[in-house]
Symmetry: C2
Subunit: 316 residues, 2 copies
């Protein structure tokens, strides 16, 4: 049996192996993904994002327990902005999450940034597809931070939960503005801290302001829910999930699910195209003897500008 | 006079206009950039990055004052991960920085994320080039967070300063690991807080560990400096700059400057190529009647897989 068939049979080791191929951006992964593709599209994909220290991993940990109790199988992708040098950090939180690894109904995998442009969101998308093909009912994608990469990753999810904590500074307000487009649910974690109600009010006025201006671009019409929780004490986690489910149902009923799938397909198609065309162009440049390294040196010396080089490369 | 010539003459309004064209990704910008390109390469480019709340903007503010006192002109690019909806947040810190805007020797500009893949680092690179062409001696690029985008942006800089604060949690340790490759100087800000010495020690052991394993990939051989400061009280800011200068001198003397320029040229060339090829491919798909939207729908319905579609598009 090929790797893809073993994944479809739910074999954990095959899934882990395929994800390693994907993470290493090996072409071998693609052949397997083609086989898997028609069998995917069943899983519910939920993104969990927010600033460092917001308690995302703890929330994910509790959501896993909650989903397992409800009889659902769970896949988790933890996207780490860690160095190729360290090769992925092992965090206290992650270790805690790994307790669930003894449970065959849970599959957890960390994905690191490998430094390829646009590589992380594609690798995440492909790995989510593997979990989907394995038959996992729910896929949780946890991302640290809210850079452009994270926004791209959130576009993969059916529902995105943004975890915030009370007592936000100026800088964090700015980041919040950046994730308005992707947030379907705000989880105000550590809600036993002072200022939790104020954070809820702040979020609400921000959302109202956004609505009054026509809402963020690309956002569906479902109302963004704000839910308080204390994940470390398992309080309010059920409410967070209820909000996720409500959003998912709204998508299903209003045709939004297909819309999201289309958006994801579009993003993915463009990324694959981009990568292939680039690979081909670099190979052609090399054939012509105009090696990339030489061209870079000539540009660095201001002998030629990058726009002209790119134009010539495209033309030939 | 064309826009580029007016920029070369140091005209502030022309530079602002060209940067708007760049930020909006208008093709008109490229023609002007081609004219500017041969006149660039003089400015010293310094990246300032770190987590929200680390005090980057305050440090940038003080560095501007310090550089102006030393008779240098300064350009600042503040890269905001803000929403296309809000169109760039106005922060308290940024407003404070704008005090310098009355000084003709200082040019400050915020860049927002527009949602194009890879668009932000290219826009930042192009805007840095405009500041360079204007004759600014030093260009400070401030980025919030340390996602993949930020790492790409740091690659534009000759020297990257990573701002950290005492008392780091688990999540932040993970992020620190991710920026080992790009950090040339660590500024331990708010060093009057408890735990500052411990943070310095932690950073040092992390660096030693990294060195003992051969160092992070793509890093030059200069020693990473760790400097304590309290930017809000203007303490240690001179030391931070001295460390930046020492690194820059090291690059100049060891030929590392040309290496960095080459790396930047290479990254930029690949990005321009990628964008053009993609634009061309999408246009061709449209011509063939196989519109992107239809293809996305067919993929979303699992009628066809994205790998096959991409392959066919590349072949034709």
């Amino acid at each position: 049996m090929g790797l893809a068939d073993r994944v479809l049979a739910g074999e954990t080791r095959a899934a882990a192996r395929l994800m390693r191929l994907i993470d290493d951006a090996l072409p071998a992964a693609e052949a397997e993904l083609r086989v898997l593709f028609p069998k995917t599209g069943r899983a519910q994909i939920v993104g969990i994002t927010g600033n460092p220290g917001a308690g995302k991993s703890t929330l994910v940990d509790r959501l896993i327990a909650h989903l397992r109790a409800a009889g659902k199988t769970v896949g988790v992708l933890a996207v780490d902005p860690t160095s190729p040098f360290t090769g992925g950090a092992i965090l206290g939180d992650r270790i805690r999450m790994q307790d669930h690894a003894l449970d065959p109904g849970v599959f957890i995998r960390s994905l690191a940034t490998r430094g390829q442009l646009g590589g992380l969101s594609r690798a995440t998308s492909d790995c989510a597809r593997v979990l989907d093909a394995m038959g996992k009912d729910v896929i949780l994608i946890e991302t640290v931070g809210v850079g452009q990469d994270e926004v791209e990753i959130c576009r993969l999810a059916h529902t995105t939960v943004v975890v915030v904590v009370p007592g936000l500074g100026d800088d964090i307000q700015a980041i919040k503005a950046g994730i308005l487009e992707v947030a379907d649910v705000f989880a105000v974690n550590k809600a036993d801290r002072e200022g939790a109600d104020r954070t809820v009010r702040d979020l609400r006025s921000m959302l109202e302001l956004s609505q009054s201006r026509g809402g963020p671009a690309g956002k569906d019409d479902s109302e963004v829910q704000i839910v308080k929780c204390v994940a470390s004490r398992d309080e309010g986690v059920t409410d967070v999930w209820a909000a996720v489910e409500a959003h998912y149902k709204h998508l299903q009923q209003g045709g939004g699910l297909l819309e999201r799938e289309k958006l994801r397909a579009r993003t993915e198609l463009l990324e694959i195209l981009r990568e292939r065309l680039l690979r081909e162009a670099v190979a052609r440049l090399a054939q012509q003897g105009a090696r990339l390294d030489d061209l870079s040196l000539r540009i660095a010396r201001r002998e030629v500008d990058p726009y002209t080089v790119a134009e010539e490369a495209v033309r030939t």
